[in-house]
Amino acid sequence: MKKLLAIVLALVMALGMFSAFADDAAWDGVYMDEDDFKAYIAYDLDVVFDAISGQLGEENLAKVEAAVEEGKAAIDAAATVAEVEAAYDAAYAAVLACVPTADGLYTYKKLPDAERTNILGILEKYAVTTGITGMSLYENGAYQMINPRITLGTENYITGYGFGTLAEGAITEDLEYETNPDWARYYHICETSDPGTLNAPNDQGSQVGDMYSYIQAVFFTNFMNETKDGYDWVPELAKEKPVAVNDEDGDGMATTWRWEVRTGETDGLVYTTGSQLESRQAFNGRPVALEDYEFGFKLLLTQANQFYRGSEFATTKTGAVVGAKDYYNATENGYDDEAWEKVGLKTYVEDGKNYFEITFTEEQTRFYAMYYGQMYFYQPIPQEFVELVTVKNYLGFNEDTTESPVDNSLSVGPYYVERYDSDQQVVYKKNPNYVFADTKYAIPGIHDKIFPAAATDKNATFNEFLAGHFDVCRIPDEYLNEYRNDPRTHTTKGNSVFKLNVNASNAETWEYLFGTDGVVTQTAKEAYWELKPCMGNHHFVQALSYSINRSELAVAKGRVPSVDYLSSNYMSDPENGMSYDATEAHQNAVTGLLEDTDGYGYSLELARDYFRLALTELEAEGAYAPGTAEAPTEIHFEIAWMYPTDEEDYHNQIKNYIETAFNDESVSGGAYKLVVDYWVGNTWSDVYYNKLMLGQYDLGFGSISGNSLDPIGFVSVLSSDQDISGNFTLNWGVDTNDPDAYPIVYNDLRWSFDALYNAVNSQVIASNGQNKAQLTFKYTPIAKNEDGTYTGSFTVASTLPDITSIEIADIECCNYERYYNGDGTYAEAPVEFTVDDQGAGLLVVTFTVPAELAEDYATGSGTSAEPKGDTGFDLYYNLTFNGVTQSGLYYSVTDNFEVPEAAEAPAEAEEAPAETEEAPAETETAA
């Protein structure tokens, strides 16, 4: 019996061993054993589940749980790397199938701040998980030294506000170094260069804006709160917070807002100038008139004045003002009072009170009405003053420099310009006529020295500070240890997180975005970027992120390590000064990044594990073939940097982190060697404009700062849709309008990033979870009939036909080129059309062009012998969407008539229109 038992046991053991051997033999992952590999892939499913479970209803939650469990079981049962990957893909698809996609019209703009913050958290979680935020390194907060003669408004830095140095602070001792006794108690700071102007409305950078802000007052400003731990919004030029004019449904949102403003007549508000010129002195103490408020905007928005910020203000999509764009477009030759009448910026007197009224294109809450009404580049100004100094010289020097910004500026802000000595100093003196002159801005002036040495020598400002010449400076890296605990040292929070942006595009995506006919930019074949397969592997990028010791890197540079996308400056509740960093939504978003790390996303073990995982996958895909220990396969990728000094400052250290993690024997046994290369441009912006924005990089250093009071608006730059991101996308590889790329669930519905972004910022028309346009147009090219007429058609489809109605107003045939190139007439003619309503929101509009007109237009702007260009067809329509009607909309296409046979046109020219005839057939554009 025992013998029999022993034989059975032996058989069982042999079978078990065979089975185990058979399992091992099937597993084809070289760098990671089967259990670990499966565990990591199963963990990815958990991450998906964590990302969406909080927003699922009970029923869908149960379905998703079941799909995840099934998926894990399938992963466990898989025998090869490919099978595991396939099991994951199947499970992922099953999870997606459990949650219905958003379809219809949604807007979450009116939700309370707390709920909108939750949505921001969901968007952030999506972004950090998919890697479209890049790899955050550090926040640009710094250790700052402040002269002890300054009493700060608060010793603790207030996020989004600062120390309150000027507004709430004071200076209690003279600066010994200052030889002018009148300036001894001025706040002494420096600029690295002289901008030569204070004309912030016509400047792109931040330097002039910062300098201009000393003499500027805005409708609403911020002052520190009583408890000195935040700030309040306070009417400055306004006398009250915004009041809704057309909040008909009582939801607190309106398109038109107004507020009472201060004027000289009612409140004694006057202009101040430091100019000694007689002509300017006439404006010293001149009362601010109500029309000055309107003229300030007119000055900005008139295209002929060529103010950078004017064009920006006219075309902005967020906080856009009714009619601003049209006015801008209509004022190429100067002010246009008739066009101004249609702009949503008005002043009027009612019941003896002076009002300023603003009409936005979209409904705004009171806070956003106040926020957009803050107008960083605006202040009231008398028209006669601008006419006196001329638009060209306003806030700057005149041609022979006999007039400086002292003479060509008027102040209603806390300071006015006292002196402007080119390349030497700009001095501001306290404005006694400022609204809060008695209670705020106790510091009597600002001395802004032009100090070019600071641009090339990072210790120059520090030396000046230590010598007692300046009141504030940043501590250079090499002095951090010595001065970190100095009583004069204060820490500030940053306004931007610097990152290594990732190009995770595959060949297909890159071609679509940046290829010869790319939607972002067009690249010649010979300039195509050589994509690295490893950068497209999500686990490889995760490994890179885990390998960087942010804490060590940032602390050595006097920065604040960060894994966040948004800096701590961003507010979830800007009205009450609550930082987004401190919210639960944010904590949830980044938890996954920090698990099992040092608290800043660094873990050498995880980095190596993920490198093993990535190599296993990449080899299974056939992307790389292993080498030998003697001749390893080299994997190269490049990091693009801003400054030449970045090689020493950052690159070598980061290269060392990454190569140390990857090239360890335990990762690939020497079969692979990772080499991190280096690139830098001529100027700091090259990395953005020549690399990141053109997809010509693997990893690229850079950062974008947005408005810290509007973090939900700022995440627009994460979108791969250039209309949403405003061409500021820096990370590529994920289609953010694809709800299947990675799940976003809100309110038990599945969304694409773009769709949810639009829903929370304004409204979205969602179809299958994607962000869609209200209408889509398809043009069928014109075809010549026997009688010489031409027939073409537009097919117009509504995304949401139930709430959409379209009225076709007109179809115009336009000869754009003839108008613009030559004879000064606008060759436009209406044509006959018929509308066929096919139901379900589908309209087919067929038009016919008379033979004579076709013949006339056939040559474009040229002649029969030498035809040039195309003819345009404009479909004018009125759209009623969700009860709101918009008139005068149009959709344009270009097409060509056949050039009459009699013409002796050159062969080349004749051929050209034929090529373009085909193009519109494929034209399907969203309006």
Partner: protein
């Protein structure tokens, strides 16, 4: 002689013309500097360039075949604005030679050197230069006044004490200091006298500073500017004087009964100055040039610093005026030095016929 002078001046003028033309053309051949920002910024920037005459602006139907014609005519467009009503603006670079002709025409006929575009927007480039040139001139005149006598004295002293400890000390110090790059010296002097001891201003005092501060403000830049000149003159004078003092005619003078002092003052110094004097003249003319490094480090608002700023700002109109000044100064210095030989040394008669 008059003909020779005229010939040299005309040649200098031609050289200046060639240098400036080449500078303009080469600078304009640089890749077009696109602005930072989205479409609004791009449009605003290109519209300004259009108004300045540096780009063409053409409104066309997007991607119409006619675009190819313009591309063929003007090269690939620099920027295309977003499409509005089916058409958009295409911006093309105006051919460099056309820009050059306009620029030249403005300079010759109207003495209009253009306007600053970014450094001091709308201010005439020539005005910007004129406002700054005096800072460079003042500084350099003082520097020459200080360095020439000192360099000559040290050189004479070293020559008179040839092969003594004094000579060796002076010569060694001169060799050491002549080898020190100027920016090292500036930083060194700043570190000690401005930051550590706090005796002197660490940056150029503003126009509003007190007279005493302004005087102190000259010490560091004058010292730094003079340093290499002092060493140069000292070395040169010593060498020339030593050579003259060993010459036969000086021995003859001594044997005729002149004292050493008389021989040196009346004969040796006079002859040693023949090659030295033109270099003093050249130095004196060069004072207009300023010093780019010193002006930048010490924050002196002169034309040397302006040259660097205009490069950084890509403000080419200022750059061209600055370049014109530097070129003119260099060429004039050359002409004056050549002519001065004739006045100093009667043996040299330029342009004279046999």
């Amino acid at each position: 002689m008059g003909k020779y002078v005229l010939k040299r001046v005309l040649l200098a003028f031609c050289t200046a013309f060639i240098i400036l033309s080449l500078t303009f053309i080469l600078v304009k051949l640089l890749p077009f500097d696109r602005p930072i920002g989205g479409d609004q910024q791009q449009i605003a920037y290109f519209d300004k360039q259009y108004n300045l005459g540096y780009v063409y602006r053409i409104k066309l139907v997007k991607d119409a075949p006619v675009v190819e014609e313009y591309n063929a005519k003007y090269g690939e467009y620099l920027y295309r604005s977003p499409v509005d009503r089916g058409s958009c603006f295409y911006y093309y670079k105006v051919p460099v030679m056309e820009q050059y002709v306009s620029w030249l025409k403005n300079v010759v006929t109207k003495w209009d050197w253009g306007y600053s575009k970014s450094y001091q927007p709308n201010v005439a480039a020539s005005v910007i230069i004129m406002n700054r040139i005096w800072y460079s001139m003042r500084l350099n005149i003082i520097s020459v006044i200080f360095s020439v006598p000192l360099g000559l004295l040290l050189g004479i002293w070293a020559a008179l004490k040839k092969n003594t400890l004094t000579d060796h000390t002076i010569s060694t110090m001169v060799m050491i200091f002549i080898s020190v790059p100027s920016f090292v010296l500036i930083c060194f002097v700043l570190r000690i006298f401005a930051y550590d001891l706090g005796w002197l201003p660490s940056t150029w005092p503003a126009d509003t500073a007190t007279t005493w501060t302004k005087i102190k403000g000259y010490i560091i830049p004058v010292f730094c500017l003079s340093f290499s000149s002092v060493c140069y003159y000292c070395r040169y004078t010593r060498a020339e004087l030593c050579e003259v003092m060993e010459s036969d005619y000086l021995l003859l003078a001594r044997t005729k009964g002149l004292t050493r002092r008389q021989a040196i003052v009346r004969h040796a110094l006079k002859n040693a100055m023949v090659p030295i004097f033109p270099s003093i003249l050249s130095e004196f003319i060069g004072i207009l040039g300023g010093s780019m490094i010193l002006e930048n480090l010490y924050g002196i608002p002169g034309i040397g610093k302006l040259f660097i700023l205009s490069l950084n700002y890509k403000d080419y109109d200022i750059l061209f005026v600055d370049m014109a000044i530097f070129t003119t100064i260099s060429l004039l210095a050359g002409v004056v030095v050549d002519l001065s030989y004739g006045f100093i040394d009667p043996r040299i008669r330029m342009g004279a016929k046999k």
